[in-house]
Symmetry: C2
DNA sequence: ATGAAATCAGTAAAGATTACTATTTTGCAA
DNA sequence: TTGCAAAATAGTAATCTTTACTGATTTCAT
């Protein structure tokens, strides 16, 4: 087990305490409740570092900002165009990655499968 | 067939003439070769408009900028962490979307499946 | 022709991310 | 312990990406 700095641990804690797939700015605000003078740069640096080590994941849904996910277990995402929320989908991409490797010779390390549409709640509230 | 403005048509033409999945900035520079005084805002506005009408696609790979694709036929993408290039993968997500709809009741309109790893060329040049 | 709607160029502003620097913290070896 | 090098941080500036705005221009159906 590695020894994380207080700031790095706080970023992990905030990210693991939510299922909302937040942005860096949101994480920054949350961590500030515990460490009021943490720097936004520190949040970004730690997010990048943690992602490169596979401790957290980056989630891109096309809203011109990156989102992060503390849950590294195998799953995919659904992005609602209405409420802009990202929710988890239990879809395993492992087999597709393997197949792609075998077929193409590419080194496939991971995959992100993002479904886009309108969630049940937003569908209800349509006018 | 719709009647596009010169600027809008130029954006389409540039995007359809490449397989590189370019960013808005790249498209802007390319279109400027034909229309030197086109505005970057015009490029963004038309990209957003064309995407909302399903004429082009947005591709997010997690490099903190959006990419665009003039090829709307069903396919997925591979993102090389080495050379940062995006290439097409012939993978059909239609069935997965349908299954997800049936299972969850969500309105699934589309999906983006992005495989991440290292391409054969970058693998060769590793040190 | 002509007037409303759409589109545009140019620019400003906002939002997201990265870079930089001086300071502080950490871990380890003497 | 103490000292020192490496790592990490706060604070800020700078950059990059995207959106918003405004007045002028174009389009197009009447």
């Amino acid at each position: 087990m590695k020894n994380f700095s207080r700031q790095r641990q706080a970023v992990i804690d905030v990210l693991c305490s939510t299922k909302t797939h937040p942005s860096a700015a949101w994480i920054y605000e949350k961590v500030r409740e515990t460490i009021p003078n943490i720097s936004l740069g520190t949040v970004y640096r730690n997010l990048a570092l943690l992602e490169s080590e596979g401790i957290i994941r980056k989630v891109s849904v096309g809203d011109s900002s990156e989102h992060f996910d503390g849950d590294t277990s195998m799953h995919s995402h659904f992005y609602c165009k209405g409420c802009k929320q990202i929710t988890d989908i239990p879809f395993d991409t492992t087999d597709d990655c393997k197949k792609l490797e075998e077929k193409t010779g590419l080194s496939v390390e991971s995959a992100t499968y993002t479904f886009v549409g309108v969630c049940t709640n937003c569908n209800k509230n349509k006018n």
